[in-house]
Symmetry: C2
């Protein structure tokens, strides 16, 4: 039985991507070599990197000034690297949950940090609005909060350059007002690819302000100057990301992805609101289209619900340990049918 | 035709590893899920990480005090991280080529560096002996120099704790006097696995001396405290590394690997010394068993030799751009038969 994979990340990718990715491990591009044993300086692998980088630009319709890098370390290293490369005098941060909190912690090791808005007062169940960011080098925010299940519906209104950890909703919809961003960074393991590479979209005009002597591997300018090949890149995760971007492009790009994701989210949230057994955890207007968090009023039903989910082939529905309840992650590659299976289990829970 | 892959890294891995690695992308452990879509917190993936870490301990026969981590960033990030975690007052460094030079450059961003020995005077064609390391927190060296083709046959004689970039010869032979090491780090993409993960073997008793406020992702103590799962690890590269370690264990471990690697190196170096057309680039006693660098006396024969290599299915024999000539990398998974094919081409070059 094929699973319905609601895992929060690493998470479902398209089936055709898995097929091509599996073949490449045995014989890549009819070279009679595995992709895993090929030099990163070989023509075939350089082409993978170049293709992956230009697909990002194309799919997101990036203005030409932006540079695209496939690096390592996840958003967790991005928290530190973003501050190291852009924080000259002060960074303004919005705290919307676990990942923002970590970003703030790492930035404080670099310089002055001003937390200009936070939803911690209500356990991160909403997105702060009408932010006054004040004077700062940039405003940092987390576009989607996987753990709490909230999402910015538009970027914060500010004249400051934006830095965004977009790990969990990049490629799920178009990026509005892209020119406002100095930096977008994103761990691959949601809508982009498997764990092991991290995407950086950089406005190079905003680099070099800090005058800091940055270690080479943490220096975005160094990676840009080497076309994202300063050292051996994580070839396979980048290759699978390239395949996923090709799939996205062939399936209507981010515009169509947004339509599909909206349909999936509406199907699930409508059931959460209709079904008296369940309730959503966060403010309705701030609900994430990627990660729906919800609970059961009657705790006695919890194990029954999980058992019925498992019987239906549903994977990864248990909530994050810091929030409890349930979490349904509905990334790009999750089909509407999987959400329908989940909704059917919810509908039939009291039968 | 199956290739004879002499690539310097990423490089050949065992064929049975490719087969299992390919299957796992379609269906891992009969879960009906791809390994690429599984949560890193799932039982199956946690088991991969634990298995990979304990195989390293077992295969290298590490004393119990050592901690094993699978991180990201390659040795290039290791250059900086090693200094950040261990350099309190001063680091002593041996410069044996490109990678040592980079390690020294990154360490200087952290603190005082003393280059106590260098083979730069003779274009890195030898390994410095009888080193006087003086007073320092540690002595750093590069055990094998992929680009120049030299290798330490035993660790430098010093009472200082050792830090070693062992990227290109770890698992090719036993590590002598392991208890002398405070840290060993190694990019996976030689004898361990594909590109995308970096091995750290740490003596935790030597950590915490620097009193530095280290960013979380660069802090070895943080990774140790989270069992190498502080953030989403590069799951697939670690899985393939685990498979490669299983293969190594099943094939007699590092003792037998050393025998096989010695036989391959002797076969090739004997031909380089016997054949008047060729010459080796480095001091005989310092020749690497992993990467043999050599040239042709007659430059006119170069393209003919490369063409004959290609016709024989030989891949990756061209020398590094900074050295020229040829480089034959003979990592663990390269069979003796491949070296024989290369030697046969060399023997028949003037026919």
């Amino acid at each position: 039985m094929r699973k319905h994979n609601f895992s929060a990340g690493p998470c479902i990718l398209p089936q055709e991507v898995f097929k091509k990715a599996s073949e490449a491990v045995l014989n890549f591009n009819n070279s009679n070599l595995s992709i895993l044993e090929m030099s990163h300086r070989s023509k075939d692998i350089v082409a993978v990197m170049e293709n992956a980088r230009s697909l990002v630009k194309e799919v997101l319709n990036l203005p030409s000034k932006y540079e695209v890098l496939f690096l390592q370390g996840g958003a967790s290293l991005g928290f530190y690297m973003s501050a190291l490369n852009f924080l000259e005098k002060k960074g303004a941060y919005i705290n919307t949950g676990t990942w923002s909190t970590k970003a703030i912690k790492e930035a404080k090791k670099v310089g002055d940090v001003n937390v200009v808005a936070s939803s911690e007062d209500k356990k991160f169940t909403y997105i702060p609005k009408n932010i006054e960011a004040g004077d700062a080098d940039f405003l940092h925010f987390t576009s989607n909060n996987t753990i709490y299940g909230t999402q910015f519906k538009s970027e914060p209104n500010t004249s400051l350059p934006l830095i965004c950890d977009m790990s969990s909703d990049i490629f799920s919809k178009p990026i509005n007002n892209i020119e406002k961003y100095a930096l977008i960074y994103a761990g691959a393991q949601k809508n982009l690819g498997p764990a092991g590479t991290t995407l950086y979209i950089v406005d190079p005009e905003k680099l070099g302000m800090t005058k800091r002597d940055i270690p080479s591997m943490l220096n975005l300018q160094v990676h840009i100057s080497k076309d994202s090949m300063f050292n051996t890149p994580p070839v396979y995760p980048i290759y699978v990301s390239m395949l996923t971007l090709e799939w996205l492009k062939e399936n209507g790009g981010v515009e169509k992805a947004k339509q599909r994701n909206t349909a999936k989210a509406e199907l699930l949230y409508n059931e959460i609101d209709r079904n008296n057994l369940f309730y959503g955890f966060v403010n309705k207007e701030d609900r994430s289209h990627m990660n729906a968090t919800f609970g059961l009023h009657n705790a006695d039903l919890k194990q029954i619900f999980l058992d019925k989910c498992e019987a239906a082939g549903i994977n990864g529905i248990k909530g994050h340990r810091s929030v409890g309840g349930f979490r349904a992650s509905m990334y790009n590659a999750l089909p509407l049918e999987s959400v329908q299976v989940l909704v059917d289990v919810m509908k039939n829970l009291d039968n």
